[in-house]
């Protein structure tokens, strides 16, 4: 199709502001999907996404509107997937920015709007949910206009739920968003902005063709990774896969690659044709690195092979997921997994438990650290137990955080950020009522219970988003936990020196409560190197006798002893101490892995 009649756009919004509902309504209004086939949030195909109301995997749908081809590129709605969002936005010329008429701008609205501006997109601002009784369309429109520097009168007022104003939004897309301007005669280039895995057809890449033309069955090369494959099928989603003979500059569609491994084709890479390769790839490819790590162990060690298989399967569809085998003397065999962020971790964990029916023990999450040892090359540490005790310097990842709260909670949020080693950056009144607070915080402080704390201290009113802001040196130290004089690998943590004492104390106190009394005193210690910073003792039992045992009691007593011994087999041995798995669980929960 003539590029002048093509419009490529995304919908961006804070969670629950109605992005998916608007997408659904667009499919209906354009008659891409019949009324009968309409399911709510059709684009969110995974059960989990539907339940959480968020989109994890972006997809692209082609619709027709008044003689134009509109490609709607859905974006993931969470900070963990910022890179995927930015690639999706790069595939567009414009974005519909949706803001809830009752809520106004939230942290993700901001983050997404900035991303769109960075990518030079034309923004079509929309205030949604005007049908709600508590809606304040004018207030919200005013905030949006302030944010993107436009006129509040240009902000559209719609209800995606009832369909009111949706047609006008489509008209605005055609009118305001520029047509793509690729060079049809140049060597072909297409941006991979998403991929998924099909059991039968392998990796399917979602692409925006920027220049030239790709044809079915031709040899294609991914420029960053060098992967080559044949384009087994080209097509677009409508919303089902619809094959076409070719995809041309300006168009959005999919490529069936036949590749059996998602890691061979990464989001952000540029495809070109082997017959006429492009000289340079499209800008912006980044190898996304996991930032948050945690150990995943099966509660029942017999489930280890199932966990391994499940991770393999998840990895097929999730190139950002990283895992490698980990052995803990306390928790047995498992995997150290790397995630883009906390939500990503939660999603993986929930999918493992729900889709694969696994019972998991997840260690406290930690971030990636850059370590310079006294002697030797710098390296990255993903597991506190790998942190050398003697280091020259340690760097930890920092984030730029935006928190938006009603003004009465500003003090609480500032206090929380200060407790978490936050550095105040600036503060801005978005309206008379709502304030944006910008802080720089160590990511390590966020992965514990920051989000929970933020929600509880602001009675749920705060919205929060962040951007990675690079690594910085920190006064960090490794705290080990010793039971019966032996280090419990799964409980080591890396923490700022100022907080080490308090944290160590909490850990040993909790363990003392959880470890059953043994036949001897069990010291529980928290230590930095060889220096003990907190200590508790599980006092020895003073008695354990089978009081009476005469001729008639022997069988019963024998069975009691057998039960006693077999009960111990289910416990983990650490330093000759039997520690029930529940004890580890309690301590790991203390570390705040639960949301």
């Amino acid at each position: 199709m003539d590029q002048a009649r093509i419009r490529n756009f995304s919908i961006i919004a804070h969670i629950d502001h109605g992005k998916s509902t608007l997408a659904d309504r667009i499919l209906q209004v354009t008659e891409t999907v019949s009324e009968r086939d309409m399911r709510d949030q059709l684009l969110d195909s995974m059960e989990l996404e539907r339940e959480r109301g968020i989109t994890i995997k972006a997809q692209a749908v082609r619709v027709a509107w008044k003689g134009h081809q509109l490609n709607l590129i859905d974006t993931p709605g969470h900070v963990d997937f910022t890179y995927e969002v930015s690639r999706s936005l790069q595939a567009c010329e414009g974005a519909v920015l949706v803001v809830d008429a009752a809520q106004g701008i939230e942290a993700q609205t901001l983050a997404n709007a900035y991303l769109a501006i960075e990518n030079d997109l034309e923004i079509v601002p929309v205030v949604n949910k005007i049908d709600l009784p508590q809606a304040d369309p004018d207030g919200a429109a005013h905030e949006v206009a302030g944010l993107i520097g436009g006129d509040a009168a240009l902000v559209m007022r719609i209800s995606a739920k009832t369909g009111a104003g949706v047609g006008e939004v489509l008209d605005a897309i055609v009118e305001r968003i520029p047509a793509p301007g690729g060079d049809l005669d140049a060597p072909p280039r297409a941006l991979v902005f998403d991929s998924s895995y099909d059991q039968y057809r392998g990796v399917i890449a979602f692409v925006r063709v920027v220049d030239g033309r790709f044809e079915t069955r031709e040899s294609v090369r991914a420029m960053a990774l060098g992967t080559e494959f044949e384009a087994e099928e080209l097509g677009f989603m409508s919303p089902a896969r619809t094959p076409v003979a070719a995809l041309e500059a300006g168009e959005v569609g999919y490529v069936v690659t036949g590749l059996k491994d998602v890691s061979r084709l990464r989001v952000g890479d540029t495809l070109t044709a082997k017959r006429r390769p492009a000289a340079a790839p499209l800008p912006g490819y980044k190898d996304v690195k996991p930032m948050v790590f945690a150990g995943l162990f099966p509660t029942d060690s017999d489930d280890y092979p199932e966990l391994r298989d499940a991770l393999e399967k998840l990895k097929l569809n999730d190139a950002a997921l990283f895992y490698e085998p980990e052995t803990s003397q306390a928790l047995g065999f498992g995997f150290r997994c790397g995630f883009l962020g906390l939500l990503h971790m939660e999603i993986v964990r929930e999918r493992l438990e729900r889709e694969f029916d696994l019972d998991l023990l997840v260690t406290a999450p930690n971030v990636a650290y850059r370590v310079e040892p006294r002697n030797g090359e710098p390296f990255e540490v993903h597991n506190p137990a790998e942190m050398p005790r003697e280091v020259e310097r340690v760097e930890e990842p920092y984030i730029k955080a935006s928190v938006i709260v009603p003004k009465e909670y500003v003090g609480d949020v500032m206090q929380l950020c200060n407790e978490r080693r936050g550095r105040f950056d600036h503060m801005e009144y978005l309206s008379e009522e709502r304030v944006l607070l910008a802080y720089e915080l160590p990511l390590g402080e966020i992965v514990l219970d920051f989000y929970d704390q933020l929600k509880s201290r602001t009675r749920g009113y705060a919205s929060f988003d962040y951007d990675l802001a690079g690594f910085r040196e920190g006064d960090l130290t490794r705290v080990d936990v010793l039971v019966g004089g032996e280090q419990v690998d799964a409980l080591s943590l890396i923490i700022h020196r100022d907080a080490a004492y308090e944290r160590g104390k909490q850990l040993v106190e909790r363990l003392r409560e959880e470890i059953p009394r043994q036949m001897f005193d069990v010291p529980i210690q928290a230590a930095i190197g060889s220096r003990v910073i907190a200590r508790e003792t599980v006092k020895a039992k003073r008695k354990d006798v089978l009081a009476k045992c005469y001729g008639g009691d022997i069988t019963r007593k024998r069975k009691l002893l057998e039960k006693q011994k077999k009960g111990k087999k289910r416990m983990k041995q650490v330093g000759g101490v039997e520690v029930p798995q529940e004890a580890f669980l309690a301590v790991l929960n203390l570390n705040g892995q639960k949301r």
């Binding site: 036949m519 008695k543 354990d544 089978l546 005469y550 022997i554 002893l561």
Partner: protein, 378 residues
């Protein structure tokens, strides 16, 4: 051998017991080492029935009868003496009226004293008292008083049991919470009992049993309960009566607890119904170790016993000072015993020390059976 409130039935039960004893007679030596009449309160039995049973018993070096203090009159004491009884075990439990009330005992503290005096007057020179500790509401001071009262009666032997409130019983329903609250305070009671009795010259020869030591006894007798000692050393025993248990040649037999079925069978001259548990070699060995370690004398680890010991655990427990190990002069077999601290943790230590067969190895079969006679259950 009591049927409370049904004294008319005592004679018929005595008939059954005697029939049971006759059936067991071929298994028994002419003269036995020990006889123990217990498993309840034989002293409640109507006297004519009791006389008949005592008369029928084979001769033995030790004949013990269990008695409740309130039943021990001078008349009963004389009857027992004349019936060949050499040792009486009195269920004193406590000398505190309120604690006896908690235990729902009929006896008063004075009953216990009177019973001991009556037995002494009838020339009994081997009297044992049972004491309970860890009774709901029992203070440390009350425990001290109980021990002092018991010692003041100068018994030859004392059995001290921690109160076990079985879950689901009316007692634990009524007192469970109280016991929970006191659990920690009461943890030291056992050690206190041992300390106090040893101070008074008693030998802590078994987990829950104490006897006046050789040196303290004027006649230098071995005052351990010989009947039970034999059981702890793994000897065979025959049980007679409803619910009685026998262990003979690797077979454990438990008579059915129904009095009616017991009497009906014996009236017909057939062994009473019951269940048999076959004890394979490793089970016998496990029991030998379990029982042997209750004693203060070392247990010789013959080859059979060696096989049920977890060697790693033995080393670990030795390092922790809970188990002692020695080798006999001129013998290859090691001997093990629990250290003093190990004895306070006997159950846990023994459980850890033993090596159990894996699941499914257990060879037990249960079938109806009969016969049983050194132990007379009532």
């Amino acid at each position: 051998m009591t049927v409370v409130g049904r004294s008319a039935e005592h004679e018929s039960y005595a008939d059954a017991l005697l029939a049971d004893l006759e059936l067991a007679r071929p298994q028994l030596a002419e003269r036995l080492d020990t006889v123990f009449v217990g498993g309840g309160t034989p002293s409640y039995t109507e006297q004519p029935a009791l006389v008949r049973v005592l008369a029928a018993l084979p001769d033995a070096n030790e004949v013990t009868v269990e008695a409740n203090p309130e039943t021990v009159t001078p008349e009963l004491a004389a009857l027992l003496r004349d019936g060949g009884v050499t040792r009486v075990s009195l269920g004193a439990q406590s000398f505190d009226a309120s604690l006896l009330g908690v235990l729902e005992r009929r006896a008063t503290p004075d009953d216990v004293r009177r019973a001991v005096h009556a037995l002494r007057d009838a020339c009994f020179d081997n009297i044992s008292l049972d004491l309970l500790y860890g009774i709901p509401g029992q203070s440390a001071a009350q425990l001290e008083r109980d021990l002092a009262e018991a010692l003041a009666l100068a018994p030859e032997h004392l059995s001290c049991y921690e109160l076990e409130a079985k879950p689901g019983t009316r007692f634990s329903h009524a007192w469970g919470d109280e016991l929970g609250r006191q659990a920690e305070a009461m943890e030291g009671y056992f050690a206190r009992v041992v300390e106090r009795l040893e101070m008074a010259g008693f030998r802590w020869y078994e987990t829950a049993n104490f006897c006046r030591s050789l040196e303290r006894d004027g006649r230098q007798r071995d005052l351990r309960a010989q009947h039970n000692l034999a059981i702890w050393r793994g000897h065979d025993y025959v049980g007679i009566g409803v619910g009685a248990v026998s262990t003979v040649a690797g077979e454990r037999r438990r008579n059915d607890p129904s009095l009616r079925r017991y009497e009906v069978a014996l009236r017909d001259g057939v062994p009473p119904p019951g269940a048999v548990e076959s004890l394979d070699e490793s089970t016998q060995a496990l029991e030998r170790v379990m029982l042997g370690l209750r004693l203060d004398e070392p247990l010789t680890l013959s080859q059979g016993l060696e096989s049920v010991i977890d060697r790693e655990a033995l080393e670990r427990l030795r390092e922790r000072g809970l188990v002692a190990r020695s080798v006999d002069v001129g013998s290859v077999a090691a001997r093990v015993s629990l250290t003093r601290r190990g004895r306070f943790l006997g159950g846990a230590v023994t459980a850890e020390l033993l090596r159990w067969p894996e699941d499914g190895d257990e060879l037990t079969r249960v079938e109806p059976a009969g016969t049983g006679a050194t132990r007379l259950a009532g």
